[in-house]
Amino acid sequence: MIHLLVSVKQVPDTTNIRIDPETGSMIRKGVPAILNPYDAHAVASAAEWKKKLGGKLTVVTMGPPAAEEALQECIEMGADRAVLVSDRAFAGSDTLATSYVLAEAIRKIDQEDHVDMVFFGKQAIDGDTAQVGPGVAIRLGLPLVTYAVEIQDINEEEGYALIIRKTESGKEIIKTKLPAALTAEKAIADIPYAALPDLITSLKYKPEVWSAQEPVAYDVAQIGLEGSPTMVAKSGSPEAHEPAETISVEENGLAGAVETALGKMLSNTSVAALLEDQQ
């Protein structure tokens, strides 16, 4: 029986973001929260392998009570158990503190029921840091495969997995001993459209909620603001620029506009030199 675990995060849908012009902070009101897209693909992949091998799929998140919805979505995709680690004491955690909280939660789950593989998303789209997965893996002493695009095999008996990861110059096939950790690209699996009975099950599902004391007694010095070495010194909107000079085709005619534009462009010595080299 394989036991797969996915660490997921609920994020504001950054395609829909509004910034308060006065404070420069994000207006959360009315911004929908979604399951981090990469995490959704990680869950989909884990669910496929669970189905293939037979076993169990657990998801865990650290977040506010509303993150329950993200967990329900994982249940909908085929997770069997969901744990929400939620406590005011965690507020303000940066990636270092977050990786501590998650690592201890996963350790606890592993004690109850041995975990073979831990999945993360490649990155969370709110912070785009891609640090939590590697951080948790190191804390748990797990071998790590980042940017996974395909799981070729999970061999529970012999205790290894074959994972393809994508790098800048190509693809690497990595063989890792189990237990192991990976961070997933979207390509790892397609999001399934759940059957209606599964959706209904997920809607009725209530995740377990863990606090900062129970069942894991967290070290307060390592969580929340206190446990976070980084802090935001200031934030604001990106600076505005003056618009460029423009040449209009409507006013100058096509040939004229292009001629003027090319003329101006080539009067820039570095551009002219570039095109010179070309010839």
Partner: protein
Amino acid sequence: MSKDKLQYDVIVVGAGMAGSTAAAIAAREGLNVAVIERGVKPGSKNYFGGALYTHALVDIYPDFFDRKPPLERPVTETGFWFLSDDGLVKATVQGGVVNSDPIDAYVALRAEFDPWWAEQAVAEGAFIIPKTLVEDFLYEDGKVVGVKTDRPEGDVYAPVVIVCEGVNNLLTQKLGLIDHDLKISKTALAVKQMISIPAKDINARLGLPDNNHGMAISVMGDVSMGLAGLGFLYTAKGALSLGVGVTLDALQESGIKPYELLQRYLEHPAIAPLIKDGQMMEYGAHLIPEGGWTTMPRLYTDGVLVAGDAASMVNALHWEGTNMAITAGKQAGLTAVEAHKKGDFSAKSLSTYQDKLSDLFVLQDMKQYRKFSAFLKNHPQFMDIYPTFINDALGMFFTGFGKPKRKLYKDILRSLTSRRPLFKAIGDIIAFGRSIIGI
């Protein structure tokens, strides 16, 4: 039936105003109700002006205000603004009748109100299934016994289905309750923007004493670029909602793009200062059924009831839609409860739904206003000539100093008659009166 089939007492399609109301009422009476909504959440696909009407809300939940609903501002000032191309005449009321307790109408944001309204239904015991599209019905012996959704293993059964699918009433059409698809001459497209502006600026610009005062304004005249339609302005707490609705056919004929219409409105010299330095929060377009009585489907058949926009229950002139949807939703819910008591879900048994609505403002108003949308289409002068005339007339009245007043009145009259002969103008007024009185 292989596995356990999904079986409920009532299925409601759509978690809008009508759907969540129908579900709450039926669930309150102990029925097992499933609401199927295609959006990620109730309200996620809904836009509107807009104001909600207290009478309908309190009718469903007498303790409505104690439940801390997400409302923006009470409507303490309402009426018409008439725009000429560069002027504005305001005809609004405040105080007096409008200052009732509780206030008659509240501005709300659907993205916040709909989920809350749905939650109240859940509290009554209804079950909401989001992210699922109802595609068709399930029939047995020619009678509807449930719905087919777009999900695998997606059939859901119930002896009665309440269809509250909103304006784009594909399911209602599928049932043959109406013999045509959306009529473009009887459907308006409303485009709107929510523009966030600090509350104190809104108050200063509109002359509102504080955040507990707000406006719901219908705007006529230059706003619709001569097309049959109306503009609106609603005040949220820290935002203004501004939009224009025009009928689809007029839009199509004119070739004007919806956003151009809205842009023009927002740039109007009387409107632009109101939204200065505001930030666009959302842009949306939504259809409004305007045919009223003339495009109303049959409201029931074997195992099915239809309520809200799906049944064309909108009064375009008064911006009434949510209250009709709520009231009709309630009656549909009650009818489903009775049908369960009788154990009879036939069209005949469900026909009491129509009787109930006939006794209420819903069908009475629909019938009375049945000529209004045709009137609007045939009298474009209400969109440009008259609003401009009102601007001119009032302007002249208060600026014609030193002119003999007899001459002034003549000039004023001429500013009308130069655009529209007097007898025609009188005819227009009568036609307007008839269209709303319904004779």
